[in-house]
C-alpha cells in the first residue's frame, strides 16, 4: 500500500456525477457547421493556412502553429471553409476572436494519415514534432501545448503523474474515457514516460470512480505495464488540481511559479495521454474530445464531439430542458459562463452545463467579511483569502501580491464556504488581471524611457560630433586662409531647409507619378512565384486592414 499525502483544506461539494456517468460515450451527430477558433491553447494563435471557399479534408491543417509556444488547428471533418473571421468564442470576455467556419460536406473524409506501428523507432524530437503538428494540448483545462511539456533532460524527472482525479462536480468525461479506453491511455502514458525519461507512472483517480479504477487496473495488468500504479485518491475538491494531486501522490509541493519538472514530476491529464497516443499511433490530430453534457438536460451523458461543434447543437442531443439560461463550460467550481450558446466546442471544453436558476441559483447579496476564516480553513494553497479579499477590494495590488495572490489557483473553495456569500475568487481574478496590465504598462513605459534616453544621448552625440567636425574644418580653412588669403571665400551651403523641402516635393511628385502608374516600387523584374507571393501578402494585408477596421470603430 502506497503512502498518500494530504493537502491543506479542501471541500466536499455535492458531486452530481451520477447523472452523466451511467451511459457510455456517444458519438455526436455531425453538426451543421463548425466554428473552430485559431487560438485554443496557451501561446500564440495558429496562423490560418486555408482560404474561404476551399475544400478541406478531415484532419487537414487549417491553422499552422506559429512561433515557439503554439499548436496547430485542424479541420474536424471534411467540408468547405465558409469564412475566416472573428466570431464569439468560448471565452468569458465575450470578445470575438479569429475563427475558421467549416461547413461539413457529410462525407467525413479523412486526409491521408501517417500511422506508426512502433513509436520507439521514432526519435524523441520527431515525436514532439508530431505532437505539435497534431495540435495535442493539455485537455485538463490548461490547454498547454503538450510537446513543450514532454521535454526533459535525462534522469531529471522521476515521476509521471497521470491525472484522472476529476474532482470537479458534474464532470465525468475523464471517468468515461478511463472506463472505455484505458488501454490507449496507458499506451500514451508509456510514450510520455519515455519522452520524459521518467521512472514511474502514477495514475491518480478519485475513489468515487470505482469503475474507472478497476478498468485502468485491469488495463495495466493486461498490457503488462511495469512501474505503473493506479492509485485511488480520496475524493476531495480540488484534489484534481495538478499541484494537489502531485502532493497527494508524491508528497512534493510545487510552489507557484516553480516548474514541477524541477522537482522531478510532470503531470498530464488522462485525456491528453489518450490524444497523444492517437496522434502518434494513428496519425489522428486532435479534432475531437469527450465532452460531458449535463445540467438542465433530459439525458445527461458524454459525447465524443468534434472541435468547433456549436454548443447548442451538442446540448440539443441531450435534450435541453426549458428554463435553460445559459451554458457553463467546465464545472460549477471553476467553469466559465459562455457569451453565447452557439460558440464552438474547443479543446478545453471538458463539460458543458446547461444552467438554470434551479441548478445554479442567482448569487445572494454579499454581506461584509466577518473574518471568520472559513476560507483560510479550506484554501488548498494555504493562503489567507480574507486578507487577499481585503486588499483586492481596496485595489491595494502591491499588498495583495505580498500576501501571495499569485499562489491562488482560483479553485473557488473559499467562495463556496463563505457565509457572507462574497464572490472572493472574482476579486482575485480582478486583482490578478489588474496586476498583469499594470506590469505590462510599467514594462512598456520603462522600455519607452530607455529608448527615449538613448535617442536623446544619440542626438546629443551627433550634435557634438558635427560641431567637432565643423570646428576642425574651420580650423583647416583658417590655416589655408593664412597661407593663401587671396582665394575667394567658401561658397555658403544652400539653405538646408529649402533643399529638404525641395527634395520632399520631388519625392511627392515622384510618388504621385508612381501611384498613377499603379506600379509598386522594386517590382519591375519578378518571377511568377514572387508575384504570387506578393499578391498573397497583399491579400492578407487587405484582410487584416478590414479586420482592424471592424474591430476598431472610429
Amino acid at each position: 500500500m502506497r503512502t498518500l499525502y494530504q493537502f491543506h483544506g479542501g471541500i466536499h461539494p455535492p458531486t452530481n456525477k451520477t447523472q452523466s456517468n451511467a451511459t457510455p460515450i456517444a458519438g455526436a451527430a455531425l453538426p451543421s457547421r463548425l466554428v473552430i477558433p485559431l487560438h485554443q491553447h496557451v501561446g500564440n494563435s495558429a496562423r490560418p493556412v486555408v482560404e474561404a471557399g476551399q475544400h478541406v479534408l478531415k484532419g487537414q491543417v487549417i491553422g499552422m502553429a506559429e512561433g515557439h509556444l503554439s499548436s496547430a488547428v485542424h479541420a474536424s471533418t471534411s467540408g468547405t471553409i465558409a469564412a475566416i473571421d472573428e466570431q464569439l468564442v468560448a471565452h468569458p470576455s465575450g470578445i470575438p476572436d479569429l475563427c475558421i467556419t467549416l461547413i461539413p460536406d457529410g462525407q467525413d473524409e479523412w486526409i491521408a494519415r501517417e500511422s506508426c506501428e512502433d513509436w520507439t523507432t521514432l526519435s524523441h524530437s520527431e515525436l514532439r514534432h508530431k505532437l505539435r503538428a497534431a495540435g495535442v494540448v493539455g485537455l485538463g483545462g490548461a490547454v498547454f501545448p503538450s510537446d513543450m511539456k514532454l521535454y526533459s533532460h535525462k534522469q531529471k524527472i522521476k515521476t509521471l503523474v497521470l491525472n484522472g482525479a476529476e474532482c470537479e462536480p458534474y464532470i465525468t468525461c475523464d471517468d468515461l474515457l478511463m472506463r472505455e479506453r484505458a488501454a490507449d491511455i496507458l499506451q500514451g502514458a508509456e510514450m510520455m514516460r519515455a519522452l520524459l525519461y521518467a521512472e514511474e507512472v502514477l495514475i491518480g483517480i478519485e475513489d468515487n470512480k470505482p469503475e474507472a479504477i478497476a478498468a485502468m487496473r485491469a488495463a495495466v495488468a493486461a498490457g503488462g505495464h511495469q512501474k505503473m500504479d493506479v492509485i485511488a485518491v480520496p475524493t476531495i475538491y480540488p484534489g484534481g488540481g495538478a499541484k494537489q494531486l502531485i502532493r497527494v501522490l508524491t508528497g512534493i509541493e510545487v510552489a507557484a511559479g516553480v516548474r514541477s519538472t524541477n522537482m522531478g514530476v510532470q503531470c498530464f491529464n488522462v485525456g491528453t495521454a489518450y490524444s497523444a497516443w492517437r496522434a502518434i499511433r494513428f496519425g489522428e490530430p486532435l479534432i475531437s474530445r469527450i465532452v460531458t453534457i449535463t445540467g438542465n438536460v433530459a439525458h445527461p451523458q458524454n459525447f465524443e464531439a468534434l472541435i468547433g461543434t456549436p454548443m447548442n447543437e451538442l446540448v440539443a442531443q441531450s435534450e435541453q430542458l426549458a428554463g435553460t439560461t445559459n451554458y457553463i463550460m467546465g464545472g460549477p467550481m471553476m467553469g466559465v459562463p459562455m457569451p453565447s450558446k452557439e460558440v464552438g466546442v474547443i479543446k478545453a471544453t471538458n463539460c458543458i452545463i446547461a444552467s438554470s436558476d434551479a441548478i445554479f441559483p442567482k448569487a445572494l447579496t454579499a454581506l461584509p467579511c466577518i473574518r471568520c476564516t472559513r476560507c483560510a480553513d479550506v484554501c488548498p494553497s494555504e493562503l489567507q483569502p480574507q486578507e487577499l479579499y481585503w486588499f483586492s477590494k481596496a485595489k491595494n495590488l502591491d499588498k495583495a501580491e505580498d500576501y501571495h495572490l499569485f499562489d491562488c489557483i482560483e479553485c473557488g473553495a473559499c467562495s463556496y464556504v463563505c457565509p457572507s456569500n462574497i464572490p472572493l475568487v472574482q476579486y482575485y481574478r480582478f486583482a490578478k488581471s489588474e496586476i498583469w496590465a499594470r506590469d505590462a504598462g510599467k514594462k512598456a513605459a520603462d522600455a519607452a524611457r530607455e529608448r527615449h534616453e538613448f535617442r536623446e544621448s544619440r542626438i546629443e552625440r551627433e550634435k557634438r560630433e558635427k560641431a567637432e567636425k565643423l570646428a576642425a574644418k574651420e580650423k583647416a580653412a583658417q590655416e589655408a586662409k593664412a597661407v593663401q588669403p587671396a582665394i575667394a571665400p567658401v561658397k555658403p551651403d544652400a539653405d538646408p531647409e529649402n533643399t529638404l523641402q525641395l527634395k520632399i516635393q520631388t519625392a511627392i511628385d515622384h510618388a504621385k507619378e508612381q501611384a498613377a502608374a499603379i506600379k509598386p516600387k522594386n517590382t519591375e523584374q519578378l518571377t511568377p512565384e514572387q508575384q504570387a507571393q506578393i499578391d498573397d501578402i497583399e491579400a492578407r494585408r487587405a484582410r487584416i486592414r478590414e479586420l482592424a477596421k471592424d474591430a476598431t470603430p472610429t
Partner: protein, 344 residues
C-alpha cells in the same frame, strides 16, 4: 447584486445561521443563570435585544444601508446578549439601554458596521458602563438560597424599572459582591485563601451558582466547537494559559493566590473564552495569531484580577488584545503551499 461567476454553487452557510447557533449555545448558561438567580436576567436580555435591534435599524437607516438585510444577520442580537450577560441582572433599565446603544452605535457602526469594528462591541459597552456607573455595576444578585429574604420577580421588575425596593428591604440584602470581588476584598483584609473559600458564597470550585453558570457556558462552547463554528485555538489557549499562570502563582504562594480552577469558573472567563474572544471580527485570523491573542488575553485577565483595580479583567483584557490584532495577523502569516522550506 453580484454577477454570474464561478463558483456557481455555495455551501448553505450564512452569517445569520452562524450567529443563531452562537445564540443557541448561550442558552444552557442562561438557563442555569435563571435557575440560580431568578428571571431578572431575562429582563435585561430582552431590554438589550430590543435596544440593539432598534439602534441597529436606526444606524443602518442613517447610512442608507438595507435595514432588513442586515437585521437578519443576528449579530446585533449577539452583542446585546453578551453585554446583558456581563452586567449585573439588577442593573436599572437605562443602564442596559445606554450600554447596548453605545455598543451598537459608537463601537460598531461608527467604525463601518459589521465586519469593520476593531473592538468587541459588547466589551466596549461593558467598559463604558463600569467606568461611568461603577456603583450600579455592583448590583449582583445573591444566588437563590443564600439571600436573607425572598426577592420575587415583581420585586425585581420594580427595581429594574423604577429603582424601588419593597418597603423594608435594603438593596444590600438582595445583592452581593461577586465571588471574585469578595476574594479581592478579603485578601486586602489579610484573609488567607483557605479561610476565604470557606465563606458560604463559595461552592465546589468558585462562587455558588456562578460556577454552574460558567459550566453552562462551557457546555455551549463545546457545542460551538463540535459544530466547527469556532476553532479550538482561542478557548484552549485562553483557558490553558489562565490555568497555567494561576497554577504557577498558587504553587508558589497558596495562601495569597487562589487555585487555577477558581479562575476558570469565575467571572467572565468561560463566557469570554468561548463567546467573546472568539468574535471573528475582532480576533486574529491566523491559527498562530489566535493562540498568541488568547494567551495575551489570559495573561492580562490574570494580572488585572490579581493586581489590578477591577475585580474581573476579561473585558479590558479583550479590548487591549483587540488593539494588537492587526499586528498579530501581520506577524503570524502562515507559509503558503510549496514555500515552507524556502522562506524562513
Amino acid at each position: 447584486m453580484s454577477g454570474f461567476f464561478s463558483p456557481f454553487i455555495t455551501k448553505p452557510v450564512s452569517v445569520s445561521r452562524i450567529m443563531l447557533n452562537v445564540l443557541l449555545a448561550l442558552v444552557p448558561g442562561i438557563a442555569l443563570y435563571v435557575w440560580f438567580y431568578g428571571p431578572a436576567i431575562l429582563i435585561s436580555l430582552t431590554l438589550a435585544s430590543i435596544t440593539a435591534l432598534g439602534v441597529e435599524a436606526l444606524m443602518l437607516k442613517i447610512q442608507n444601508k438595507p435595514v432588513a438585510f442586515f437585521l437578519k444577520d443576528n449579530t446585533a442580537l449577539l452583542t446585546a446578549w453578551l453585554l446583558a450577560l456581563s452586567i449585573p441582572p439588577l442593573a436599572p433599565w437605562w443602564l442596559v439601554v445606554v450600554g447596548t446603544a453605545f455598543a451598537i452605535s459608537i463601537s460598531k457602526h461608527l467604525y463601518g458596521g459589521l465586519g469593520n469594528n476593531p473592538f468587541n462591541p459588547a466589551m466596549i459597552g461593558y467598559a463604558v458602563l463600569i467606568i461611568s456607573f461603577p456603583v450600579h455595576m455592583t448590583h449582583w444578585l445573591t444566588p437563590n438560597g443564600l439571600g436573607e429574604i425572598a426577592f420575587s420577580f415583581t420585586d425585581q421588575l420594580n427595581y429594574i424599572f423604577r429603582e424601588v425596593l419593597p418597603g423594608d428591604v435594603k438593596l444590600d440584602a438582595v445583592t452581593m459582591a461577586t465571588p471574585l470581588d469578595t476574594l479581592k476584598t478579603q485578601l486586602h483584609l489579610n484573609g488567607s485563601i483557605s479561610d476565604i473559600l470557606d465563606m458560604p458564597i463559595y461552592g465546589h470550585l468558585a462562587g455558588i451558582g456562578s460556577e454552574w453558570v460558567a459550566a453552562g457556558f462551557l457546555l455551549g462552547g463545546l457545542y460551538l466547537l463540535a459544530q466547527r463554528i469556532i476553532s479550538w485555538h482561542l478557548p484552549v489557549a485562553y483557558l490553558g494559559t489562565l490555568f497555567f499562570i494561576a497554577a504557577l502563582f498558587h504553587l508558589v504562594d497558596p495562601t495569597h493566590y487562589v487555585q487555577p480552577g477558581f479562575h476558570l469558573f469565575s467571572g467572565a472567563a468561560m463566557l469570554g473564552a468561548f463567546f467573546i474572544l472568539t468574535d471573528p471580527v475582532t480576533s486574529p485570523t491566523t491559527p498562530r495569531g489566535k493562540i498568541f491573542f488568547a494567551m495575551g488575553a489570559a495573561l492580562l485577565t490574570y494580572l488585572i484580577r490579581t493586581f489590578g483595580g477591577f475585580p474581573d479583567g476579561m473585558a479590558f483584557a479583550t479590548l487591549l488584545m483587540n488593539i494588537c490584532v492587526p499586528l498579530i495577523d501581520a506577524w503570524t502569516q502562515p507559509k503558503v503551499f510549496g514555500k515552507k522550506e524556502k522562506q524562513s
